[in-house]
Amino acid sequence: MATEFEVYEHDVLVIGAGGAGLRAAIEAAGSCSVGVVCKSLLGKAHTVMAEGGMAASMGNVDDRDSWKVHFADTMRGGQYLNQWRMAELHAKEAPDRVRELEKWGALFDRTKDGRILQRNFGGHRYPRLAHVGDRTGLELIRTLQDHGIHQGIKFYMENTVVSLVKDGDRVVGAFGYDRERGRFKLWRAGAVVLATGGIGRAYKVTSNSWEYTGDGQALAYEAGAELMDMEFIQFHPTGMMWPPSVQGILVTEGVRGEGGILVNNQGKRFMFDDIPDNYKSSTADKEEEGWRYVTGDKNARRPPELLTRDHVARCIRREVKAGRGSPHGGVFLDISWIKEKVPNAPEHIRKKLPSMYHQFKELAGIDITTEPMEVGPTTHYMMGGVRVDPDSQMTNVPGLFAAGEVAAGLHGANRLGGNSLSDLIVFGKRAGEHAAKWAKENGRGTVDQAALAAAEAASLKPFEFGGAAENPYRVQHDLQELMQDNVGIVRVEEEMKFAQDQLQLLKDRAAKVGISSHREYNPGWHTAIDLRNLLLVSEAVTMCAIERKESRGGHFRDDFPAKDDAYASFNLIVKKGEDGQMVMHRRPIPPMPDELKQVIEENK
């Protein structure tokens, strides 16, 4: 087959136009030519959905906050499996990155003295999340988008990358197709930044969109990069439960930050029943103290609803299992009760949580200012991903960088709310800066045409099988059920082993999915292509989850319910072995410098 593709050239190619990708592109565009490829239209990436806010220790609301406290909070939340260097850089640089957004036009909610307002969130000691009502992600992505379009960046919207292009060890571009016409394209580049987001679509109940098929993780893996911490998936405690068609859609933690409480079907506020030891000293033991905290009393401790997400999700599951759940298998989240405390409560709630108000009103017919919501855990965030150098964000593959949710390291075993949006801008900037530098130093490589032809042929396979063959949506659906039921929020060896076997069968089925009709804007075909990535990340998740025989952060094993010190000193890594099989090893966590140890000690 003659391989004629449209070819584009840039110094830096960024894959993904969420917060991380856009921030990287803006940074790189300051010094070189940049292209951005994304599967959706500009401004529609997952980042747009973020609600609660972005964490940065500006100390505008409570001046006791500092990078040190933020660092210690992040490490504690991640159960000390985080790459401490990333947590350190993140805590130090987030305030500047947030302020910079204001320079580019972002309008955050304000304090009384006119500065950026910050709100409480789970696991953060002080009010730390800069926010705009409950649509912070929209503000972030729009600000970066509207600034980015004036920086000379070239955007390739509705284009999907199917493989990375290599020259020897080094990545020198990407290969993909456009959705509109289904034609293949080659982007040559000195350096490539992956900013493709997460893997939530591997599960049935998720807050994530169709884009979250683990593309970046799979692209990197195939190119020889290491994936780390793949067992750590965040199940957000509060997804919508009812009606069925909205199950999994996120209910922001901001509801609890504003005073929302979790109650079981006996009307009991159950979060007081189990407070982990390392949070006892910082958690309220009386309802009255919890309320003082959310209304800004600096001497009060936070209510247990604002404990870390992994813990809250498990408490909800405990209530449901014990028969104390809500009618549709969740528990109740109630913000309307604050009418006992605040005058004009309905108006206050609508102002603080406008999109939650609309979401429930319009999708569930529920008025959250007068009735409780039904909520339960939903697959939300991938802590694991591509392993990167903490300072430069380069992977172990030269010329390949990663930032944002697709990268691993900052969050360890569990991410704190609000630490993702700040992650995007801190490490997006770093990735852009270092990718530009790398590209300028190394120039473009040469492209292996045969590899491109093979990638094209593999992508077009489904058309050969035709519409009568296996349906890609069916395989995707079966995969989501498999992962949901067997490698979900509570895990046991047997079920995961079962999933491992089933994944092999699904792989065989996926290799034979067929599609009718032509290549133009054909979602069935797109789904068929995405399946490979979903299967690959599912395999990695399952393999690591079996290996970690303890419970920690987002990873909970019913057969090993306790944390085990033997597992505290390493991260799990998977990569493609010599024979093409997935291989796994333990990577010791680098020793932490004494200054940082002391910071953690001081903030215990």
Binding site: M157, I249, N471, P523, G524
Partner: protein, 248 residues
């Protein structure tokens, strides 16, 4: 389980379009986008439609449902008459790519032409500004926009008169307003609004406001104030000079 029929407009820019009926099983709480997904899964894997968030936050799933411009993910089946087929069509103001997907790239090009945000020097040594909440409130309303382009779809100047070259549409008049009313912005976009962006074409029918899924008062809060500013400056120049000189 009960069934409902969805009459979906299919076709691409080359072939002529036709309606096809698809019956799918429906359940409590479903929205139109769920039905479209079921059709893809059961009947037509190649049915083209855009979506991302399924929660009214990204503005991808715009379409015309029974003739009304709406977000598919926020239109509940229980609000529709299911005794007759539910008609789903793409937005009409933009060229169809395929089925429910249209070419909205014009909107992105329009935005690029609008002068970007230009802040005044920082108020504080650390590079920050002070702004009161009441001063950012009105701009925050405009910044709720999810760029679904339903207002652009419904505006007769674009839809019926195809003035895409002369008129930027309600979304981008509002974008100008968001910049003009931004407490920190120092640039001036009124001349372009009047001369190049076709502000005068809008005759305040308020159709845009009616379809906005974010319930933004596009006409009252953004378009009319921009028209007033243009009038004050260009048709009442003395008044404008006066206010500029006195700072009132």
């Amino acid at each position: 389980m009960p069934q409902a029929t969805f009459r979906i407009s299919r076709g691409d820019s080359a072939t002529h379009s036709e309606f096809k009926d698809y019956a799918v099983e429906i359940s409590e709480g479903m929205v139109v986008l769920d039905a479209v997904h079921l059709v893809q899964m059961v009947h037509a894997p190649d049915l083209a439609a855009r979506w991302n968030c399924k929660a009214g936050k990204c503005g991808s799933c715009s379409a015309e449902i029974n003739g009304m411009p709406r977000l598919m993910c926020m239109t509940r089946l229980s609000d529709l008459d299911l005794s007759v087929p539910v008609k789903i069509e793409p937005m009409k103001t933009f060229r169809r790519i395929k089925d429910l997907v249209t070419d909205v790239s014009w909107n992105f090009r329009v935005k690029e032409k609008i002068k970007k945000f230009k802040p005044r020097p920082a108020d504080n040594a650390d590079g920050t500004w002070n702004m009161a909440q009441r001063d950012v409130d009105r701009v925050q309303e405009f910044r709720k926009c999810i760029e679904c382009f339903l207002c652009q779809d419904v505006c007769h100047v674009l839809r019926d008169h195809q003035k895409h070259d002369e008129f930027i549409g309600p979304r981008f008049i509002m974008w100008n307003a968001a910049l003009e009313m931004h407490p920190l912005d120092t640039d001036d976009r009124l001349k372009e609004l009047k001369d190049d962006n076709g502000l005068g074409y809008c005759n305040i029918t308020k159709c845009c406001t009616k379809v906005c899924p974010e319930h933004i008062a596009i006409t009252d809060n953004a378009i009319i104030p921009m028209k007033e500013r243009v009038v004050d400056r260009y048709y009442d120049p003395l008044g404008w000079l006066w206010s500029k000189a006195t700072g009132t």
